[in-house]
Symmetry: C2
Subunit: 195 residues, 2 copies
Amino acid sequence: MSTDIPAAQRIDPRIRRTRQMLFQSFHALLGEKAFDLITVQDITEHSTLNRATFYDHFTDKYALLEAMIAERFRNYIATRLGDPPPVACDKRLRALILAACDFLSEIAAGCKRNQRQFEPIVESQVKAIIREFLMPALLRHGVAQPDLQATMMSWAIAGAALEWSKTPEPRPVTPEVLAESILPAVCHVITAVKA
Amino acid sequence: MSTDIPAAQRIDPRIRRTRQMLFQSFHALLGEKAFDLITVQDITEHSTLNRATFYDHFTDKYALLEAMIAERFRNYIATRLGDPPPVACDKRLRALILAACDFLSEIAAGCKRNQRQFEPIVESQVKAIIREFLMPALLRHGVAQPDLQATMMSWAIAGAALEWSKTPEPRPVTPEVLAESILPAVCHVITAVKA
DNA sequence: ATTACAAAACAACGGATGTCGTTTAGTCAT
DNA sequence: ATGACTAAACGACATCCGTTGTTTTGTAAT
């Protein structure tokens, strides 16, 4: 009664602390070895936590990766979009594409080459979050079949950005140039999808 | 020397047999319980094989799923495209979209609701194989940046088809109608991507 | 300060995983 | 048919997983 702090923010400091420790340890380990070789034990040992404590917070290491990717990418986009975010559709799109490129290339650089399990999770999170930022704009413009469009656009953007991020450095194409290449195609989706 | 059968086909019949048994058992189990609940033990018990034998053929159950999805979807497309496959680009595209829809809806229907691990693998395989069938056509037409285009198109198609397959039955939209909706957008990618 | 509550620590379990080295059985050329 | 070769089958092992129940410690309101 005494406070107006939203319930979502009033998290037990112990939880914040533990989650952060797990994030940090996990991130550190990703710099040492590939995702598939990291065990839950490794993570908890590195963070001086009990292994069972891990499972109080995440169902498994995949969930940890998901949460971590989602949080980082959301922050990435938010800072990229600026405040207030641009209203113009193509400006927003460009910012999203650049954010995706930067984020994915940072991941590719900062993680010891990760195998099979790692990439699908990054993929799906990037897609989902691009969609998350795309959807309101599409609704505001009242386009036809917004769900379908959001899916196609977010998948296409994520695919392009991921492929770009996998080209070996130094990359011949800058994110800006890539954005110019794919923006027209993505925008055409809006006008092309029939109601 | 005596034979002109390509080396790839000359597989030890034992290998074919074992792989097929694993496929069958796995497929049967997928009808009973979710992917995440199926253990390698389950699969090998059902197929009356030793568990270690499984690992002689696949690195884990995810690899088995990948191989199975890839094989089935390739067959699906091949029969759908007909023989000889149409040369016209939009005809090929339409066939690919329909094949993806049918395949995914078959999976959705025939498998006990599958969790986290299942879908990403299906996704990535469907994308990869659509790309596989798309690429030659793009190269033949000599479009700009074929890799980028193939990625964006295959991701967009896979995303649309997957979303469609997740709408509950009876579906309000037929695959043919969906194909009509997304074909223009996908085709525009070709003309829109700048060199 | 006291109290009620919620989370972390810890030990321990049954079970699944992935990998050995050895044995067995299919396959192909002669 | 035979025999050499190759690869599949197998049993067993150490490890990791995910869960459970109990104890301890940190947190926030009275």
